[in-house]
């Protein structure tokens, strides 16, 4: 009889199936690798943010103010009154489950509390308990539960496992934007001083020095001047960026990450090369060493903080007297600009509707914000045949394109980067349709989660993206993942290193610059990374 054979699982008493408990009865377990370190109190102090103190998420005591429940209640009440969208999102979810399996963090982690519907329920349950009649009377039967310290810890743990990418909202039949629920949830947590350092310190840095990295103006200028030397070494052409130049027609603002961290640095060099090329065609542009950050981690903190950091863009544009602003490749920067800037800090009546000085194209989509994405700007240049491009210089690359969440879902920029890519390289392959464009999967590190200590979380969140990259790598031999976001450029190399080590990461304008034939350039033998160019040995680049 089979029964007589000893069963292996009887040899050791191990249970392989997790206990079946309802989500409300499954306590939060704060696991290493899944959370970021707590915000540095100095950073909170700089911002005048509440409750600055040293605390550790794994400690029992989070050093909260005595009246923390009252603060949460009042914070919720204020936001329910202020944001109609938040109130509606609290009320209208029918728990149909359409969003449940659309979140990259759920797909990658398998943790049900990362289903967008359940992540939102973490807050909704408290809302029902304190703000709805049904919840007050029926309690748990109506899906309500009182606020407790464990609930608060659960909020913190899971609201910082959402990258606010909004993929779930694409599938919600009611149009509930779970990112907005996360945004409000984080805002309330910040009232208690519950932030993460990867957000709090960049925000504090940006508030002090104008960029997330805390680079001071002179150092920012030095960095770009190092790039001038690097560019000259590769191209033989010395570009001449201008800084803080009053009266320039256009102000250029890009994420500071591209000034310091590879491979974003090559994208920054790409901008400089493009601007140099366009100078003789009539481009009059300046960088600012004060508005030296396109990104806005304030967006991941609170509406008020986002507004404070964003304001510097318009102030600097006003101070310099430019006509409009050109923005670099970034993700969340564009959601802030496209959806919030104009009403937060606008109207920017002192600026003009952007017009390309090279092609005369009027960017009516930016009529209100006065700020144009560089992918749109470059696509327009290519469309009007203003760039002398040799895409074969990128022939060693087989490129696929990762739509960054915010430019795709947050501003609908889907085709411009593809148009540019198809003109600057000969080998471009799309990933499967349910992983790109408006259905794009997040890099897994957005919304301030690209720290080092939460690497497991990042690898889980990025797994669906890596899975799609794997497909095009196997099918088309893809070896380069292009993107238009500085967080992507910082985060995707680690993701590729774990899942697809033979695939590199590049910004769009690195490829543009490599393909661009510069007047007066020397015979190019390498690209900006110093890698040899295939078949260029016999060509005279001039």
């Amino acid at each position: 009889m089979a029964d007589e054979l000893p069963k292996p699982e009887e040899l050791i008493d191990v249970e392989h199936v997790p206990p079946i408990t309802g989500w409300m009865d499954t306590p939060v377990e704060i696991r290493k690798g899944m959370y970021c370190y707590a915000g540095n109190p100095k950073s909170l102090e700089t911002l005048g943010a509440p409750n600055p103190r040293q605390w550790n998420p794994t400690d029992e005591d989070w050093k909260l103010p005595d009246n923390w429940k009252e603060i949460v209640f009042e914070g919720l009440r204020e936001r329910l009154d202020k944001f109609r969208s938040f109130k509606v999102f609290m009320d209208i979810c029918v728990r149909c489950g359409a969003c449940a399996d659309k979140c990259h963090f759920f797909i990658g982690s398998g943790d049900p509390k990362n289903m967008p519907v359940l992540r939102a329920e973490l807050i909704r349950s408290v809302y029902r308990n304190d703000f709805t009649k049904a919840g007050k009377i029926l309690g748990r039967l109506a899906g309500a539960r009182p606020m407790t310290l464990d609930v608060l810890k659960e909020w913190w743990y899971y609201l910082f496992q959402c990258s606010e990418c909004r993929r779930c909202s694409v599938f919600c039949p009611y149009g509930i934007d779970t990112a907005e629920i996360t945004i409000i949830g984080r805002e309330i947590l910040n009232l208690l001083g519950l932030n993460i350092d990867w957000i709090a310190t960049p925000v504090s840095n940006c508030y002090r020095t104008g960029n997330h990295l805390g680079i001071q103006p002179h150092a920012f200028k030095d960095m770009l001047e190092f790039f001038v030397d690097d560019i000259e070494e590769v191209t033989g052409v010395r570009v001449e960026p201008s800084f803080n130049r009053k009266g320039a027609e256009i102000l250029f603002i890009t994420p500071s990450g591209d000034v310091f961290a590879d491979p974003g640095t090559y994208t920054a060099m790409g901008y400089m090369i493009l601007f140099h090329y366009l100078r003789d065609l009539g481009l009059d542009i300046t960088w600012s060493t004060y508005a030296s950050e396109g990104g806005n981690f304030g967006f991941f903190t609170s509406h008020e903080t986002m507004k404070r950091l964003n304001a510097k863009m318009y102030y600097e544009a006003k101070r310099l007297g430019v006509k409009w602003i050109l923005g670099g490749e970034c993700g969340h920067m564009w959601r802030v600009i496209h959806q919030y800037m104009d009403t937060m800090n606008g109207p920017a009546d002192f600026l003009e509707e952007p017009v390309s000085p090279i092609t005369g194209t009027r960017f009516t989509n930016a009529k209100s914000t006065k700020m144009v994405h560089i992918a749109e700007f470059t696509a327009d240049l290519i469309y009007h045949k203003k760039l002398n491009l040799d895409p074969s210089r990128n022939d060693h690359l087989k490129v696929t394109f990762h739509d960054s969440c915010n430019p795709s879902r947050g501003m609908g920029m889907l085709d411009e980067p593809r148009y540019v890519l198809q003109n600057v390289c000969n080998n471009f392959y799309e990933m499967p349709s349910n992983t790109i464009r408006e259905q794009t999967f997040c890099c897994g590190s957005g919304s301030g989660l690209n720290a080092g200590e939460d690497m497991e979380l990042r690898m889980m969140g990025g797994m669906p993206r890596a899975n799609a990259v794997h497909f095009v790598k196997e099918k088309y031999d893809v070896n380069m993942l292009a993107c238009v976001c500085a967080i992507d450029r910082a985060a995707l190399p680690a993701l590729m290193d774990y899942y697809e080590p033979e695939v590199g990461v590049t910004g769009l304008h690195e490829l543009v610059a490599n393909a661009l034939i510069l007047p007066g350039e020397k015979k190019k033998t390498t690209n900006l990374r110093g890698e040899p160019l295939l078949g260029m040995e016999d060509e005279d680049a001039e």
Binding site: L5, H16, T26, G110, P112, M115, F226, G452, E453, M463
Partner: protein
């Protein structure tokens, strides 16, 4: 063909092949049930490989590993087949034993589905040999698991170093050995 083929009598091999579909379905079910029940439902039902990469990796993984065991266990080949599943489980909310324990579920599954026939046909010795190959697979899985964990730590260390080193280097704060030997 590897050593196991010699150990596998035609009868045991035939039994395993005949019951392949049932064994794989049961093994797959047990693996996905190591996740919370809501997640297990999703992993079982969503068939799109891009919407459900974990489910796909498990389904492909159990099939390929079973076939590899029948072919004879090539260490390199088995490692490549195990990698996608282990790479995912190495970062998820599992202890090390939970992350690789699913390999040994196969023993339980086979005993449950064809255990009786194994005894009736007097194939226990062959089956014990087959089981020890499953144990070998478990050891290979442990190696991969450790490589994945080490990779995570390596990525963390590299990211930290690159961020700071490249910033210092670009800021001209680092004195490197010059390329020109005369300047060394």
């Amino acid at each position: 063909m590897g050593a196991i083929r010699q150990l596998l009598s035609n009868d045991l091999e035939k039994l395993l092949i005949e019951s392949r579909a049932a064994i794989l379905q049961e093994w797959f079910t047990l693996v996905v049930e190591t996740y919370p029940s809501e997640t297990a439902r999703f992993l079982k039902s969503q068939k799109d490989p891009f919407a459900n990469p974990v489910g796909r990796a498990v389904r492909n993984g159990v099939e390929d590993l079973f076939d590899e065991l029948l072919r004879g266990l090539n260490r390199e080949h088995a490692g490549a087949l195990l990698d996608p599943m282990i790479r995912i489980r190495a970062i998820q909310n599992f202890t090390p034993s939970e992350a690789i324990g699913f390999i040994f579920f196969l023993k339980t599954v086979i005993r449950k589905i064809i255990g009786k026939k194994i005894l009736e046909r007097n194939l226990s010795q062959e089956f014990y040999a087959f089981e020890s190959k499953v144990d070998d697979l478990g050891l290979i899985a442990f190696d991969i698991y450790m490589k994945c964990r080490e990779k995570i730590y390596e990525i963390k260390a590299n990211e930290f170093r690159n961020r700071h080193y490249s910033a210092f280097r670009r800021a001209g704060l680092i004195s490197e050995v010059p390329d020109d030997p005369a300047l060394k």
